[in-house]
């Protein structure tokens, strides 16, 4: 017989877990006690929310569930934002929370919170474990549910007594959930319909979302669009699905997207949506789009198809698998007229990379930064103006662009970068945030130092909550309300207080040399870029 805590550790080892991002507390003490005897490394975060984000950054790069762990009550509720962030962006997580002893459940005792109830809208599934003997099955199921179908976070809430109860360890070989059988292969009839739609289309466009990464289908997507000559636009979550400099890539669509990408969608007669939710930020006027455009929607989650946009041909399944199936049918190569016109229009776009009178040009800066970084670099963008500057100007080649797309969670970039770096120690990882979002995550500098995580941090400092300021300028007669960040610390000095080297630049003249210095530094580095407060996001 072993204890529940020992069983949990054994299960995590069986799942090949390398890292747990967490923060201990009374109700997870049995588990933390056993963790010290395991090969699994624990990364102590400085706030539970970041445990979830770090697990998210790890999961997105490692392509397997990230694991985080917190105590009951506030530890668990602090995790909710990270669960919601992962849920919206379909990131596989397995989150463990401690819970008060099962005989005390429901009595509002110290640090009791109904976390399975509270997190229900933000988790793919959750468990409140009643018997230690169920732990091996539940953990196996949790990893299966988190990582298959449309990935997402799974929460396991474990009362402290269940962690100390004894069990005969038995783990079933396979998972059997009769209510959960994700569809992988596309329906043959629907594939034929897709083929006909492509062959009949004059102006087809592919709109790709984050689902392509979950399916690991980037290579297939590129083959597909190249072999039949179809232009590609992406959602924010889909940035980097094909290299951003690819001749067929027209940029990100939507409210903050490229005009040419939106133009391509409006002018198209066939829109092939792959692994995207078609949210309000991506497609401003779904009604306008669907009027003249036939829509093929490929998604592993049938509930996404037809939710926001009327669909002409729904195809449920794995994006990679379906792209292969369609290619096997050998669709006709499309005429170059349509793609050439778009390519020409793309060439005409003038990029605003001129130096500014005061401060740096953030668009030019992130462009330069991403071009200087190695091809396979991981670029973590935060939320706010910095996200729009990054999304529109960062060059992704063979690497990844990570950001909180659906939830728009400020304070995502640094913890995501930590997780990403631990998942891929040999790749360059950069976090780009604003001075607002930096102050939501700066406690993680300690996590970075404690674990020697080599991430590069860029803070765009304009002393404002810039994106909100822009909304107030456009829609509230420039009445700036609560967007002034006066009182913020000297960010470079904050870094220095952690022993992190850094510098501040306020002119593009210094940008190239400063980037080289940052990337040349072995270990973490912080670069503060002074940006004019009236610098627009677009």
């Amino acid at each position: 017989m072993i204890t529940g805590a020992e069983a949990i550790v054994r299960c995590l080892e069986n799942e090949g877990v390398e890292y747990i991002f967490g923060y201990p507390g009374a109700t997870v003490c049995p588990l933390y006690d056993k963790l010290t005897k395991s090969s699994i490394k624990h990364i102590l975060v400085r706030h539970e929310q970041h445990a979830g984000h770090e697990a998210s950054g790890y999961a997105r790069i490692k392509k397997r569930p990230g694991v985080c762990m917190t105590t009951s009550g506030p530890g668990a509720t602090n995790l909710i934002t990270a669960l919601a962030t992962a849920y919206m962006d379909s990131v596989p997580l397995v989150a463990f929370t401690g819970q008060v002893s099962s005989e005390l459940l429901g009595r509002d005792v110290f640090q009791e919170a109904d976390i399975t109830g509270a997190a229900e809208p933000f988790t793919k599934y959750s468990y409140l474990v009643k018997n230690a003997a169920d732990l091996p099955r539940i953990i196996k199921e949790a990893f299966h549910i988190a990582s298959t179908g449309r990935p997402g976070p799974v929460l396991i809430d474990i009362p402290v007594n269940v962690q100390t109860d004894k069990l005969d360890f038995y783990q079933p070989e396979a998972v059997d959930l009769r209510g959960y059988k994700p569809t992988i292969k596309g329906h043959a009839g629907q594939i034929k319909r897709v083929l006909r739609a492509i062959n009949n289309a004059q102006r087809p466009v592919i709109c790709v979302g984050g689902g392509i990464f979950a399916a690991e289908g980037q290579k297939e997507l590129q083959q597909f669009c190249e072999s039949i000559n179809i232009p590609v636009v992406s959602t924010m979550m889909g940035i980097g699905a094909i290299p951003t400099a690819h001749p067929l890539y027209m940029g990100m669509l939507g409210m903050h997207g490229k005009s040419i990408a939106n133009r391509a969608i409006i002018d198209s007669d066939l829109l092939i949506i792959i692994g995207a939710r078609v949210s309000d930020r991506a497609v401003l006027l779904p009604a306008n789009v669907s009027k003249n455009t036939k829509i093929v929607h490929i998604d592993i989650d049938p509930a996404e198809i037809g939710k926001n946009l009327d669909t002409f041909i729904p195809v449920v399944g794995d994006a990679k698998e379906i792209l292969r199936q369609v290619m096997e049918e050998e669709p006709e190569k499309k005429s170059v007229e349509w793609t050439d016109a778009l390519k020409a229009a793309r060439e005409m776009l003038t990029l605003d990379y001129e130096p500014r009178k005061a401060g740096i040009n953030p668009k030019a800066f992130v462009h330069l930064l991403s071009r200087t970084l190695p091809d396979d670099h991981i670029y973590c963008a935060d939320v706010g103006q910095n996200q729009i500057w990054s999304a529109g100007n960062c060059e992704v080649r063979t690497g990844r662009f990570l950001t909180s797309g659906g939830m728009g969670t400020m304070g995502y970039s640094i913890p995501a970068a930590i997780g990403a770096k631990l998942a891929a120690p040999d790749r360059a990882v950069v976090a780009v945030c604003g001075d607002g979002s930096f102050q939501m995550q700066m406690m993680e500098l300690a996590t970075i130092c404690q674990n020697n995580v080599d991430v590069k941090i860029v803070v765009m400092k304009n002393n404002k909550l810039g994106l909100v300021k822009e909304i107030q300028r456009k829609s509230y007669k420039n009445n700036e309300s609560a967007v002034d960040l006066t009182g913020s610390p000297d960010i470079v000095a904050i870094a220095a207080a952690y022993g992190i080297p850094g510098r501040r630049i306020d002119s593009m003249d210094a940008a190239e040399e400063a980037i080289a210095q940052m990337l040349g530094n072995k270990g973490v580095y912080l670069l503060e870029c002074v940006v004019d407060e009236n610098e627009p996001s677009m």
């Binding site: 399975t116 109830g117 229900e120 809208p121 793919k124 599934y125 409140l128 549910i145 959930l177 009769r178 209510g179 959960y180 989650d301 049938p302 509930a303 037809g306 939710k307």
Partner: protein
């Protein structure tokens, strides 16, 4: 438009909370919801009456299917199902009204299940429209309490969900 949806779910803790939470969150209007066990003790059947257009009915079906604990979801064709509700109606009456009420209950094929000097309790199991009619017929009297289950339904003939 009313849709009857039959849902087979795992019979375990938290399932109903998940499903009712889903409806609240996504703004689906549920007219009634009835839950009970089935021939298999590990499976419960939820019968839902949903008010909305075809888009809503499709969304409800898809979101239900997405739940891990949901085994099967079937939107039932109104014409091809047997539907039942159960109602208990307590009516306060004077002695001279008793006969009239008993007549109504007889005609409606309900049953008097409890009687006191001042009240009668009527039970009836039938289609929801018939239940509505019974309540309407009893409304001129003093209805003091009504307890009504949600609609349950099964397909006619050999068809099963």
């Amino acid at each position: 438009m009313k849709h009857t949806i039959s849902v087979l779910v795992e019979n375990k803790a938290g399932v109903l909370a998940r499903i009712s939470g889903l409806f609240a969150r996504r703004g689906f209007n549920i007219d009634s919801l009835a839950v009970g066990t089935t021939e298999d003790k590990n499976i419960s059947r939820i019968t839902l009456l949903v008010d909305g257009d075809d888009y809503i009915a499709e969304q409800v079906t898809k979101q239900l299917n997405k739940q891990i604990d949901v085994i099967k979801v079937r939107k039932l064709d109104q014409e091809e199902i047997t539907r039942r509700e159960l109602v208990l109606v307590k009516v306060k009456m004077s002695a001279d009204q008793r006969g009239e009420i008993i007549d109504i209950v007889k005609i409606m094929q309900g049953e008097i299940v409890d009687i006191s000097h001042t009240t009668l309790t009527v039970e009836m199991s039938d289609k929801p429209e018939k239940i509505d009619l019974l309540i309407d017929l009893l409304s001129p009297y003093n209805i003091v309490e009504v307890a009504r289950t949600g609609t349950i339904a099964l397909q006619k003939g050999a068809a099963i969900v």
